[in-house]
Subunit: 346 residues, 2 copies
DNA sequence: CTGAAAGCGCTAACAT
DNA sequence: ATGTTAGCGCTTTCAG
């Protein structure tokens, strides 16, 4: 109802207030609070006591301006509701923990324009480094990154030129490997089910690699189904039903992510469809969720945790910058691809 | 390998650089860039051209210090890998979109000490407001919040005193309602399955409300099972198996969240256990995921999106501050609670 | 409509 | 071990 006592014209406390309350110069107070330089135990005690009693919280705005040092690392990702980026964040936070650096997240919703804006906003705070998902950016964004004068790490993907450093996997190769495993298991009539996201370049590259491998084996996708919107598990069910109805002869369903793949798996099990005999399934990401399913979906780990860690190490200077760091996802066959047949397919 | 051209001793551009490049005073450049005050079209054009050509990005550190205005809103939450907070974030971002305010996320991992630290860090950037999950904080944290002089909104929970504003639901009441529905449906031997998290106060309050309602009906929980760690879906399966094995006469499983509830549901279906006849199930949160399950788990929507929106509105000043805003979750019976029996139970 | 001066709260670099 | 001085890059305020 009425404004509480804490919101009003009470001036925020400054170093000067602590200085006066403790009878020590601002400079010494600053030293104590930053644990820099030598200060006698006596004064240190008086200063800390005064600061705590007053409830002083340093003003990092002023500190950053004076020292041209900002302990912030910008992290720009497409989405949080994705199950993949939270894990990347975990890796980043983990490695930044002891460096004094703090991650600050920005979300682009897979929009290049929005990404450009977020980059601009981030850079205007003069962070110590920037981590961003993907290699594709607007020209203006790339120009800003070039100018920034701080370490830039592009993560998740390494299929393409990087502005500075890159840490990720080759999604083209990931798609190719999955296709080879599928073909090797004897599947021939393969359908793709994925997101309708023109700006999800990683999913696009996986599909490109996948189709390239199919072509090499003289095959082509026999059907495709796209979705947009959320509730991926449900979409997975619906799409799977649609594909299996429309193309009853399909023998493999390749999903662009594990969530829709899990939905498809649940659908097949409910319909008593023989998996992996009658139809095989595979997703991508290696999410935790799959562990709880009645059967384990074939997938590939996207190395999310490791990507976050390595990116953070580059920013923290524990790893040389301006390198391309490639990680290699492991194919987990799960229970939804049947055993490898011999080199000669049926 | 070698440091790229962008990382080195190239001095970041300042207003002065733009001023010199455009032949206009710094002050006028500042006016143009902030779209404040009247500037002739001619000079405006020259300034913008110069700024763009140089690739100037304003320094918000300096701007914020000079104006004592920071367009940041701190958002402090326990976890991102939770499926609930990303949606709260969405609600916040959505409402902040047109206000010029930007959310900055901090994660506490359900640790009060970590929360205290994150609050301190956040406040040291002098944000325009703070949104934080829960009403429980350390004394030091509460003192800082009291002192901050900015709007504070505690979200998710309203069962307790707030520092300033609060937006959320009553978890006690949510637990009570679920218990009443379960008892009303004739279930009597009820078990609880939840997380081992002493600092998840919302889950605790739900259970308190739940048990209170049981007690009122002369009942008590017949079994409990706790887990910690991730992979909630798998844990849900395992815990459910454990409980049903240990207490074969249990007729209802109340889960502290939907993820483990979904795991339990999948387990029951796989075991051909009659749901909701032999055993009923219920979770909490109303997550999207449930839509894709073979059967709909009973749950309660936690109003996550709406909580985010309303909290943002308070910070943006579109809603009076220092109010307690209670939202009311809807009980969704799904397919895992059998139909209500009459007022007289069997 | 444009400019000059002062200073935001802190820290680097020197004193002492 | 402690204090002094001069900014950091911008915006506020006041003059033209």
């Amino acid at each position: 109802m009425t404004r509480p006592p804490n919101v009003g014209n009470r001036r925020p406390l400054t170093l000067r207030d602590v200085s006066e309350a403790s009878g020590v110069s601002e400079m010494t107070v600053s030293r104590v609070l930053r644990q820099r330089g030598d200060v006698s135990e006596a004064t240190r005690g008086r200063v800390l006591e005064a600061a705590r009693r007053l409830g002083y919280v340093p003003n990092k705005i002023a500190g950053a301006l004076a020292s041209s040092r900002v302990n912030l690392v910008g992290v720009i990702i497409p989405s949080l509701s994705n199950m993949v980026f939270p894990e990347v964040m975990t890796g980043i936070s983990e490695r930044l923990e002891d460096t004094g650096l703090q991650p600050v997240v920005g979300v682009t919703n897979y929009s290049p324009e929005r990404e450009e804006k977020v980059i601009y906003e981030m850079l205007s705070w003069r962070p110590s480094g920037l981590i961003l998902a993907g290699l594709e950016h607007t020209d203006a964004a790339r120009a800003m990154l070039d100018q920034a004068g701080i370490p830039i790490v592009e993560i998740m993907d390494i299929d393409g030129p990087a502005v500075d450093s890159a840490v990720g996997i080759s999604h083209r190769r990931a798609g190719r490997h999955m296709a080879e495993a599928i073909i090797g298991a004897g599947y021939r009539r393969i359908a793709f089910l994925g997101t309708q996201m023109p700006n999800d370049h990683r999913a696009r590259k996986r599909l490109e690699g996948f189709e390239a491998a199919l072509a090499q084996a003289g095959l082509a996708l026999v059907d495709r189904e796209y979705y947009s919107g959320s509730s991926a598990l449900l979409k997975g069910r619906e799409m799977t039903q649609a594909v299996l109805t429309r193309s009853p002869d399909v023998d493999f369903l390749y999903y662009s992510n594990d969530m829709i793949g899990a939905g498809g798996l649940l659908y097949c099990l409910a319909q008593n469809i023989d998996v992996p005999g009658r139809v095989g399934l595979a997703g991508f990401n290696g999410v935790d969720l799959l562990d709880g399913l009645p059967r384990r979906l074939a997938t590939m780990d996207a190395c999310r945790l490791e990507i976050g860690r390595r990116a953070a190490e580059v920013i923290a200077g524990q790893t040389p910058a301006s390198e391309r760091i490639e990680l290699f996802p492991v194919l987990q066959r799960g229970d939804t691809i049947r055993a490898e047949t011999g080199p000669t397919a049926p």
